[in-house]
Amino acid sequence: MWDYTDKVKEHFLNPRNVGVIEDANGVGEVGSIACGDALKLTLKVDDNNRITDAGFQTFGCASAIASSSALTEMVKGLTLDEASEITNDDIAEFLGGLPREKIHCSVMGREALEKAIRDYRGEGEKEIDGEIVCECFGVTDKEIETIVKENGLTRVEDVTNYIKAGGGCGKCHEGIEGILRAHWGEEPPPMKKPAYMTNLQKIKLIEETLEREIQPSLKQDGGNIELVDVDGDRVMVKLLGTCSSCSLSQVTLKDYVEKKLRELVSGDLTVEEVS
């Protein structure tokens, strides 16, 4: 069962603006049945370049339908310039967050919007830039590079979550890894703090950060740390091994653990030790 927010569920069960705007003057279509999802966005733009109406048709999972519905609500009333500022993150945030595996649904929304705006402006189809890397979903190296750069992605899995590349037969995983290496060099970059998180995502990221960043260095000194609970922004932990008897443990806790968590998860976190 996917961990959808109430807002995603609500937009899925009661989607807004379903259908095609009859006198639309901006149309954007992305995806296909083979891909597993597709979106047709129709916009009505007035003489002042303001979007007065938006409609959508979507084939896809719950989050694809909810993302499309959210997108139409977001763009109505905006000028084209304002609308073109909308990112996939904005769509996800409007819905209270999306599961990582579903981020491509919000990316599909942004792509359709971009296409519809280009269509209205008479700019025609964007030329395919670069070479196809993922043949299953027709994703080019340039597109992968852009998404990696914009979102600080470090793993093939993340690239798949964002633009599907690599989610089919898997033959292009090496190619995607090559692009990641070319961008980041051999060293993987430090973890990046996401812009918005649901509670569950936050807890998961705290766990991940403890595991990946903090535990290894404590273990080098014969210590360890365990997550006990998270209450809002209070992170309760237990120090183990040599850490539990170390006179400097409070320093470790505040100057190292808390600092690291604030840097990688959220600036509002406080860390406290519980027994």
Partner: protein, 390 residues
């Protein structure tokens, strides 16, 4: 909300009679069946009874049954046992539609352990290409593993015939019968099947108990090495309560196998017929005749499976989909793709799997609720226009 449970190929309700038999083994009879005193001897005696009941359901003898923790453990044990027993043989033959318990293991053995694996294709109805299978058995083939019935489509494979040929050609034959046991009458004594996997929680026993049938005389090596439990064939203290539950569930399954093939089959047929009648552009995946009595895989064109499942979920109806979106991967089910089911249908396929606990009311409820859901999603879908043209 009332739950309408139609996902019995995923797991089943633990039968109340089974739970009742199990409880004392959590409270009163907690002894270790390997211990010497009488208090534990009672537990050992009940394990022996469970072994007999499990063997009876599949027409085997009790000493041919090894209890495991699940179907996956049984499958891994069987395949590794054959590879270890015939170390000079480096080829495995299996099918393209196996459950991940066999498929992923074979892929792992091929990618990391230097085995050659041949995956036998199926046709559009889900039938195995038997000529292809027989053509690919060689002197180097250690084991042939073919499921008895497919979990997604319910299509049944002629494993008894295949076992006969495999035996003549000198390889070990294993079948993952997790979906078939309790639904298809079987008498292993009359077959050439060397090993068979079954899983408790697919037949109203609890999760955490499975069994591997190992024909007397089959070369074997344990997967879990440890104590002398299961006559040295599987180390580890027995999951006594669950095994006692499995025994009771097997006894019940034997009594209910006819009901599965009459009443449950009729319910399944009714569901399928009515949905096909009411919803246009809808197909059944896999052969409709040679199939488990409880399973139907229905493909709805132009809509996506996860959306259907979530709308059903709002009504308390539990089913599963062959769609990619529910599994985290982006490719639709490998089974439906192996059948050549087009993407347009594979993405919108829903599996309903029934059990003896389903009633007419359950089926009537789905027949009433499902068509408007498909209609609603097709209204949202951009491919709706194409549908109207056809």
């Amino acid at each position: 909300m009332n739950i309408t449970y139609l996902d019995n190929n995923a797991t089943t309700r633990t039968a109340p009679e089974v739970v009742e038999k199990m409880l004392p083994f959590y409270t009163e009879y907690y002894g270790n069946p390997s211990s010497m005193y009488g208090f534990a001897g009672y537990v050992a005696k009940k394990l022996a009874e469970a072994r007999i009941k499990t063997a009876q359901l599949i027409g085997a003898s009790a000493e041919e049954i090894v209890f495991t923790s699940c179907g996956t453990e049984s499958d891994s044990t069987a395949i590794y046992a054959a590879l270890q027993s015939y170390p000079h043989k480096k080829h495995i033959l299996t099918t393209r539609v196996e459950h991940p318990a066999v498929k992923s293991l074979c892929e792992h053995l091929s990618a990391k352990k230097g085995y050659r694996v041949t995956f036998v294709p199926v046709d559009g109805k889900g039938f195995l290409d038997l000529d292809y299978l027989y053509d690919h058995i060689t002197d180097d083939t250690a084991i042939v593993s073919v499921m008895w019935a497919n979990n997604e489509t319910g299509v049944i494979f002629p494993v008894e015939d295949i076992a006969r040929v495999v035996k003549k050609r000198g390889a070990v034959f294993h079948t993952d019968a997790v979906q078939a046991v309790g639904k298809i009458p079987m008498n292993l004594a009359d077959t050439d099947i060397d090993m068979l996997s079954l899983s408790g929680h697919k037949l109203h026993a609890p999760k955490g108990a499975g069994a591997l049938y190992i024909r007397k005389g089959t070369k074997f090596a344990p997967f879990l090495i440890g104590g002398h439990q299961e006559k040295g064939r599987r180390g580890g203290t027995e999951n006594t309560a669950s095994i006692v539950g499995l025994g009771k569930a097997c006894e019940l399954a034997g009594e209910r196998i006819e009901e599965e093939n009459t009443r449950v089959r009729a319910l399944r047929d009714k569901l399928e017929t009515e949905i096909l009648k009411q919803v246009p552009h809808t197909v059944i995946n896999g052969d409709i005749h040679n199939r488990l009595p409880n399973t139907t895989s229905i493909g709805f064109e132009y809509v996506e499976g996860e959306s259907i499942l979530l709308m059903l979920n709002e009504l308390g109806i539990c089913a599963s989909s062959g769609s990619a979106c529910t599994s985290g991967s982006l490719e639709p089910s490998h089974v439906l793709r192996a059948l050549g089911v087009p993407f347009t249908i594979a993405h919108g396929s829903i599996r309903f799997s029934l059990s003896v606990y389903n009633s007419d009311a359950d089926i009537d409820f789905v027949i009433e609720q499902l068509p408007p859901i498909i209609e609603k999603l097709r209204m949202i879908s951009p491919f709706r226009a194409q549908e109207n043209q056809t």
